[in-house]
Subunit: 139 residues, 3 copies
């Protein structure tokens, strides 16, 4: 059994979903295990991870809209307001999605379904450099 | 250290939670590791995974109701409407629950609590054949 | 490759987030792997796990408030009411957050970001003894 770790840094461009599937697939392919387990962990609390549809970009826009409708920006609702009107909502949106994802590897690649992609979900208004720790164990 | 992979296919019957604990437990038992880690990954973006209570079926009905109340089906809210009024809400409901679950194995079985079961959460109106990739590593 | 399992029991004090980072970090340090994967699994369906900000305690209070606003306690909405007005909302809140978390280990410690802590999120009104199964695999 072998393992490998890596940190992937991506630059987001404000609220919404950024597809990182290709960069993650490259890490899996380069390590060359046939069977194993991939773990992704985002090192932030105002951005998160999500597996979602890769076909229609409207799905991504509708997901962003849902989050904006559901997690209010009304300052009167929050104690934590010093980092701006988008910060506390960003923490809540991150709590409702994922900080870590686990994806089995079979036949040398992730077992993603046909319509699945891996996204970083940025919840702040400005773009940020976001770090995702990757870990593979397998053979 | 050993590992094994498997794909479990389950047929859902419309919106709600389907208990897959027994099928998953059988896979764990058959592989025969005493200590290790089980990973479940659902290969879809309109169905998801959830650990929930196994005792009172009313809990499952109330969870389905909550999702239906919280994720509106009003077409005016969405861009992605071509696959039917249940499709975009299904993607959102999947985003709010889990695509992957990790469960340690100890004493030859999953460390589920007394009241925990593993469910596939179908979010589409019609039943579907849903694939769950399973992976165990352990000894 | 080596692995170790442990059960961490924490006593919550009613609704809200309880920081368990130090206890988890101690388990990682004691096992002494340099590189690997840590898994946390909470053995309950009315409490959950969450990675969130560790700096401003207001963030934790705002998260609890958001859950209370979003998941109604109105008995008329639920079938499952026999265990008290806080029980079904607790199951829903647990479904919206995490039952398991996966955190890579590098350089002998978890790859948590500067502002990240690991929390148990209690959703019941009374405090409970909550069990978290921990598992590490690595070298």
């Amino acid at each position: 059994m072998r393992q490998r770790s890596h940190t992937l840094t991506v630059n987001t461009r404000g609220p919404g979903l950024l597809d990182v599937t290709d960069a993650v697939a490259r890490f899996v392919r380069d390590f060359g295990v046939q069977e194993g387990l991939l773990t992704l962990f985002i090192r932030h609390t105002s951005a998160s991870l999500l597996i979602q549809e890769n076909a229609d970009p409207d799905v991504l826009a509708d997901l962003e809209d849902f989050m904006r409708r559901t997690v209010s920006r009304d300052r009167a609702l929050y104690r934590h307001t010093t980092e701006g009107p988008d910060d506390m909502p960003a923490h809540i949106r991150a709590a409702l999605t994922q900080t870590s994802l686990s994806i089995p590897i079979a036949g040398g690649q992730m077992v993603l379904g046909t319509w699945q992609a891996i996204y970083v979900f940025e919840h702040r208004d400005r773009g940020h450099a976001r770090e995702i720790a990757l870990h593979i164990i397998g053979l």
